[in-house]
Symmetry: C2
C-alpha cells in the first residue's frame, strides 16, 4: 500500500520519476474494471462508494478508490477532508483509498486521476472506483476514463428533474437515486424516467435507474448487479474497447499538451510571464502578440 501511495504522490507532484514509473507499469495495466461515480455535493456519493467497495470486497475482489476533491488551485483539497471515512476500511489491505486534488497548470486533474488509476490497475486491483463531484469539464474528462459511470441523484435536489443538465444525461451509464427513503422519491424517479425516455440510446443501452439508501446499505447489491450487466453488454458489443480507445485519444492530447508546456516553460519563467501579463492588462500589448513573442523565444513557429 505504501508503494501505491508513493507512486500516486509522484504523479500528483508531476515529479520526474512519474513518467518513468507509468511507462514501466503500463504493460501491466488494462485489466481492472473502472467505475466512475459522480454527483453533486450532498448526494451521499462517498457513502455509496464505501458501500460498493464493501460489496466488492465481500465477493473477494480487491478495490482501489480515487476520490477527487473539489478542485482548489490554492490549497488543493476539501476543508474537512475525508479521513474519517477512510478509517472504516483502514484495516483491510484489499482496499486502497486515495483523495486527489488539482495540480498546477502543467497537468490536469483528469490526467493525474487517470495515472493514479493506472497505478492501482498495475497493482492488481480488480475494481477501481473513481469518485468525483458535479459535471464540470474536469468531471467529464475524468468520467471518460471509466468503463461505467454512475450519476448519483437525490430526490428534491434543485426543484426537479428539469434541473438535470444534458452533461449529466450524457455521461450516465446508470442513474442512482440515493436517499430513496426521502419524501418525493416516487415523483422524482418518475420524472427522471420520463426525461430518460427522450434521451437517445447510446451503444444500445438506455441508462437504468437504481434506488439506494446507501447509509442503510439498501440497493447496493442491486446496483452492483446492474453495473455488471452493463459491463457484460458493453463487452459483448465491443463497446468497452471502443470507449477505451476514445479515452486514449483524449489522454494523448493531454500528454501532448503537457510536453509542449514543459518545453515552453523552459523559456518562460514566472517572472517573465508576470511582466507580459502586466503589459497585456495595461493594454500595452495584445495577448496574441505576447504569446507570439514567447513562441519565438522557445524556437517554435
Amino acid at each position: 500500500m505504501r508503494a501505491i501511495s508513493r507512486a500516486i504522490t509522484a504523479i500528483e507532484n508531476a515529479s520526474p520519476e512519474a513518467e518513468k514509473l507509468v511507462r514501466e507499469l503500463f504493460p501491466h495495466t488494462g485489466r481492472a474494471a473502472i467505475i466512475g461515480i459522480t454527483g453533486a455535493p450532498g448526494t451521499g456519493k462517498s457513502t455509496l462508494v464505501d458501500r460498493l467497495a464493501a460489496h466488492y470486497r465481500r465477493s473477494g475482489q480487491s478495490v482501489g478508490i480515487v476520490a477527487i476533491d473539489p478542485t482548489s488551485p490554492f490549497t488543493g483539497g476539501a476543508i474537512l477532508g475525508d479521513r474519517i471515512r477512510m478509517q472504516g476500511h483502514a484495516l483491510d489491505a484489499g482496499i486502497f483509498i486515495r483523495s486527489m486534488a488539482t495540480r498546477g497548470w502543467l497537468g490536469g486533474l483528469a490526467e493525474a486521476t487517470a495515472e493514479a488509476a493506472l497505478v492501482l490497475d498495475a497493482a492488481g486491483k480488480d475494481v477501481i472506483l473513481i469518485e468525483t463531484v458535479g459535471v464540470g469539464q474536469d468531471e467529464v474528462d475524468i468520467v471518460r476514463l471509466a468503463d461505467c459511470t454512475l450519476v448519483v441523484l437525490v430526490p428534491g435536489m434543485g426543484d426537479d428533474v428539469q434541473n438535470l443538465k444534458a452533461g449529466l444525461m450524457e455521461i450516465a451509464d446508470l442513474f442512482v437515486v440515493n436517499k430513496a427513503d426521502q419524501p418525493g422519491t416516487d415523483r422524482f424517479e418518475r420524472q427522471l424516467r420520463a426525461v430518460l425516455e427522450i434521451v437517445p440510446e447510446r451503444d444500445g443501452w438506455r441508462p437504468p435507474v437504481v434506488r439506494t439508501i446507501a447509509t442503510e446499505n439498501q440497493g447496493v447489491s442491486e446496483l452492483a448487479g446492474m453495473i455488471e450487466r452493463f459491463g457484460a453488454t458493453m463487452q459483448a458489443g465491443g463497446k468497452r474497447s471502443r470507449r477505451r480507445i476514445e479515452h486514449w485519444k483524449q489522454r494523448l492530447v493531454e500528454l501532448l499538451h503537457r510536453r509542449l508546456m514543459l518545453r515552453v516553460g523552459r523559456h518562460l519563467d514566472d517572472r517573465q510571464l508576470e511582466v507580459l501579463a502586466a503589459a497585456v492588462a495595461a493594454r500595452e500589448k495584445d495577448p496574441f502578440a505576447a504569446v507570439d513573442e514567447v513562441l519565438t523565444k522557445a524556437g517554435i513557429e
Copy 2:
C-alpha cells in the same frame, strides 16, 4: 446586438476571424466591471442574475450576461435551455444575454468566456455578469476572470455547511444565501459565518454573507451595494489590477496551449490520433512513446 452575437459565435467556433477580431477589440477593453456568479444547480443563480441585471439597468448601466451551460462535450448545452428567461429582457437593448457551452479540445471554455467578455466590454457594457455552475476547474478558471465573484448557496443543500469545499471558500468574494425564506436559513447562515471565520482574509477582505430571495427581488439592491463596496475596497488597494494581471497570466498560458495544439494538429489528424490511441489501448505502445512520435513529426523537440 447582432454584431456582438456574431462576434461571440466566431469565438465559440474558434473561427479564423476570431483572433483578428479580439486583437482589434482589445485596446477598447478593460473598462467594464466583471462579476462572476457561481453556485450549484438549483440555487436560483439564474434568477439572481436576472434580478441583478434589472437592478443595474434601473441605475442606467448597460449589462452583458454570459451564462455558461453545464458542459456537455456532445450537444453543448442544457436540455431545456434558458430561452424563457431571455424573453424577459428581450426588448431591452441595454442588456445582452448569451449562453455558452464547451468547445472541443482546441480551446477551453474559460478562454471562450473570457473572449466573449472582451467583446461585451468593447461593446461598451458597463457591467458583465458571468454565470457558471459549480466549482470544477472550468469554473475556477472562469471566475479568475471576474473582478468580483459571488458564490450562491441555499439553506439545506447537502446536509450542512461542512459540505462546502475549500474551492468555494477560496473563490468567493461574497456569499449569497438565496431562497432565504426557506426553513433552516438562520442555522445555515450561522454555520457559514462560523466557517468563514477560520478562512484567512484575502486582500484585506473577508467575504460577507448577503441574504436574498431572488424570486421576490429581496436583498438584490443590498447585494449590489456590497458588490460596489467590494469593488471600492479592491480599487483602493490596487488589488483589482493585481487580480487582472493574475488573470492574464493564466490566459496567456491558455493561449500558448492553443497555439501549440494548432501546430500539432497540422501533423496529426483525427484518423492518425485514432490509430495511435488504439495501439495504446491495446498496450502495444506506451502513451509517452506515442506522444514522442507525434512531436517528432511536428518538428518539435
